[in-house]
Structures are given as C-alpha cells and as structure tokens.
C-alpha cells in the first residue's frame, strides 16, 4: 500500500512514518501540492497548536489539493490535529478557517479536569467502523490534546471522555480520523493503522 504522508513540519511526522513502515506501508513523505493532489491514500498527522497546522497547510498551498483529493475519493486519515482540522473552525485558532469537510466547531475540553488530556484512555463505540475492526472494546489509546471535536456528529464512530465526551474515531465515506495517536498507542494503535490501510486498499 502506498501512503502519502503530509509533512508540513509537525513533530510527529517521523513517528507516524515509522509506524506505517512497521506494518508494511510504502510511505512517501511530502509537502508538494501536486503530489498531495494526486494521492490515493493520504495521512495528515499533527500535534501541537491547531493554528500552526492550518497556517502551514496554507503556507505550502496544500489546502486546495487536499480538499480536492478527498473530494475525488482518496482515502484520508487525520491524526489528532489532523482530525480537528477537518471541521469548520476551532476555538484554538478562531481567526482561521478549518478545512470545512465536516460541520461543527472544535472546542476546549472543560476546566474541571487536568489539561492537556494526556495519557491512555478507552473508547465507547457509537457505530461500526472499519478503523476499529479486531480492536478489543476495552483497548486503551494514547491521547495528548486540550481541544476536541463534538461527540454528536453523524461522522462520529467512537467517543472518549475527559471532562466531556468528544469524538475519538470518525469515519464518513473516505474520510477517517482519530483524536488519539495510533503511532504511539502500541499494538492496538498499529491495528488501527492496519485497518486504515485495508480500507484504503
């Protein structure tokens, strides 16, 4: 499986690349608009600040090719900020427009819990998703974020909870995304990546 890994400078690009290679993917890491526009299987990693991701996508002129590739049917996986960027907007970057491929707004998790939401948490499956095939229902995944997308959208396939419920796994046609870091979630994370490659095949 050939995977195009979007490298806009996020720190977790090498980890994601390593995790994909471990499960046998051929990974091309790129920030070239023409390569992203022509890709059939795309991964957008991300960690840190949402404004940095969106600004970097625009600085490299990647927004349009990415939206067009997904529109053409390229199978897409967003990781962490790569999930949050799919929505219309984020309170973390109020002056920037998200990719707008999903309706809704990303908001900060409540103040009555420790932030960032950092560490291993479990999921509650809302509906069947290819991403969680062969994953035990009580499996833990590694999260590291303070903002999150609403749990209630129709794209939501599994939620997790920290102060409130939020979307942890989403799948809508060819758009997949996870709020946790599959590249840092041990064997269960590797299973999610394998499931994504299978969905893209």
């Amino acid at each position: 499986m050939n995977v195009t890994l979007i490298d806009y400078g996020a720190c977790n690009v090498p980890s994601v690349e390593r995790a994909l290679r471990r499960i046998g993917a051929q990974v091309e890491t790129t920030n070239l608009p023409e390569k992203i526009g022509a890709a059939r299987c795309l991964v957008l990693p991300g960690v840190g600040h949402c404004a940095a991701l969106i600004a970097a996508l625009d600085a490299h002129s990647l927004r349009q090719p990415l939206i067009e590739a997904i529109g053409r049917g390229a199978t897409f996986l967003g990781i962490c900020l790569g999930l949050q960027a799919l929505y219309e907007s984020s309170d973390e970057a109020p002056n920037l427009a998200g990719l707008g491929l999903l309706p809704g707004r990303v908001t900060r998790l409540p103040e009555n819990v420790k932030l960032p939401h950092m560490g291993w948490n479990t999921l509650k499956t809302v509906r069947a998703t290819r991403l969680l095939e062969s994953v035990p229902p009580d499996a833990y995944f590694y999260f590291a974020h303070s903002f999150a997308a609403p749990a209630a959208g129709e794209e939501s396939a599994a939620v997790s909870e920290h102060g409130r419920e939020f979307v942890a796994v989403l799948e809508k046609e060819n758009i997949c995304a996870v709020q946790f870091h599959p590249e840092k979630s041990g064997a269960t994370g590797a299973q999610v990546l394998r499931n994504f490659l299978r969905a893209a095949a």
Binding site: C11, V47, K114, P116, M118, G119, N121, H145, S185, T188
Partner: protein
C-alpha cells in the same frame, strides 16, 4: 471511559549508557538504553523517559543518537531531556524522535524558554521537571541535578511553569530519590492539587504499595521509576496487575 494512571520507566544516561546513583551521586552502569526501552515497550510501559544526566553538569551536547535508537524501539511516547537550554536544542531532540521535551535548570534560569517551547511544539510536548527538597514550611526547587539551591518554592514554580506553557510536571523528590523508601506523597499531592496539568511523581519507588500510595494519597497522574525496573526487581505488568486489583485504573496491554 476514564484516563489510566501511567507507569513510566526512566532511563538516566551518561549519554550512551544507562546509569544509576543515589541522591544524584555515585553513578554506576545499569545497561543499554536501547535494550531496556525495547523491554519496557513490550512489558506495557505507558511512556519512556530518557535523560542525559551528565549534560547539565559539564555542558556536553545531548545524546541525539541514543534518542534516535530508543525511538526506533518504541510504539509508545518518548520524553527526552537533560541539558536542553534553547529552542534549537529542543528541535534537535524532537527531530531525533522525542514526543516531549523535559527542561529543568534552563527553565529556572530563563522561564520564557517554557513559552518558546510551548509555542513551537504545543503544551502537550513540554514537561517541566522540578527537583524539590523539603524545607521548613514547604519544598524548595533545586537545580543542576539537585545540587544547587534556588529561592523558588516548588508549588509556586509549578504553577508559574504551567502558566508559561508547560503541559506536564515531572516532580522529583530530592530527599527520596534513590532511597527506595517510597514517593513523597505529601509533596506530590501539594503540587498535583495546585496545578491544572498532569503531575508525574518521581523519586523513592521500590514496592507496588509505593505506587498505590502515590496514586491515591499523592494524587499523581503518573509515576516514574528507574532502577527497580532496570534491575528487574519489579515487572511493569505485575505492578499494573497489583494496581488494578486495588481499584486503580491502569492500562494492561493485550
């Protein structure tokens, strides 16, 4: 659904080899960081921390090659630190494969470093390490591997650090470190109940009951230990089974 308490083995290195000492002194060899990291990854560690404890002392450049080789082995998060004094040095550590950077002395000397790191990598990647020593009425922040006193109070510094951009506090009790007499639960609770970010307790662990105490009385979000894991005195899996049996939520890998 709720967040599991984390167990974090720590590899204190002299750059290339894992070393151990008591009260930050009397170092001896404790193994190969790459072999140990691979073992902890397989045993169910929730993260791994790698520190270059010689770097802050004699200004040696951090051990990027060790970070690279350890990161190769891991499918769990890696925190690295020791002698990181600038954004440039932190970038090199992140590029080598660390998910989080830990800073200690350099942040005391120049607190804006925390804001710079947080702006570049996000708060979730910035760990403020605090070495705290008990004194009348509280805990004093120590720097340079615990050897040098400061005028900072640990609670105040932890709070300020989080305000400046740290996403986590790695809290070591200088009094307990290396003694295997248990974590300083009072210190850990004082900091954990003060700051809005997660707190990793460190220093003094020996038996599973010490971990249970620091997660309950100490309100720790995570607990870190070194030599008991390196020497195989304590398996991570058995420790987690003990904790789960006593009602502490932990992740037992499949």
């Amino acid at each position: 659904m709720s967040l599991a308490r984390r167990i974090i083995p720590c590899l204190d290195t002299d750059g290339a080899r894992v070393v151990k000492g008591v009260h930050f002194e009397g170092l001896r060899d404790a193994g190969d960081p790459v072999e140990l990291a691979a073992r902890y990854n397989a045993e169910g560690a929730d993260e791994v921390v790698v520190l270059d404890i010689a770097a802050a002392r004699d200004n040696r450049p951090t051990f990027l090659e060790t970070i690279r080789r350890v990161a190769e082995q891991l499918a769990i998060p890696l925190t690295a630190g020791g002698g990181i004094r600038s954004l440039e040095a932190a970038r090199a550590v992140v590029r080598a494969g660390a998910d989080k950077i830990t800073v200690n002395t350099a942040a005391v000397e120049r607190p804006e470093l925390l804001s710079e790191l947080s702006a570049e990598f996000g708060a979730q990647a910035v760990v403020l390490a605090i070495d705290a020593k008990r004194e009348a009425g509280g805990w004093q922040v120590r720097i340079r591997g615990g050897r040098e006193a400061t005028t900072l109070n640990a609670q105040g510094w932890a709070q300020r650090g989080v305000e400046l951009g740290a996403g986590e506090i790695l809290l070591t009790s200088v009094d307990r470190d290396g003694t295997q007499s248990g974590f300083d639960n009072e210190l850990t609770a004082a900091i954990s109940n003060t700051v809005s970010a997660p707190v990793i307790a460190s220093g003094g662990a020996k038996v599973p009951a010490h971990f249970l105490e620091v997660f309950t009385c100490g309100a720790a979000d995570a607990a870190l230990a070194a030599s008991i894991f390196h020497d195989q005195m304590q398996s991570i899996r058995a420790l987690k089974e003990f904790l789960r049996g006593r009602g502490v939520e932990v992740r037992l890998p499949c």
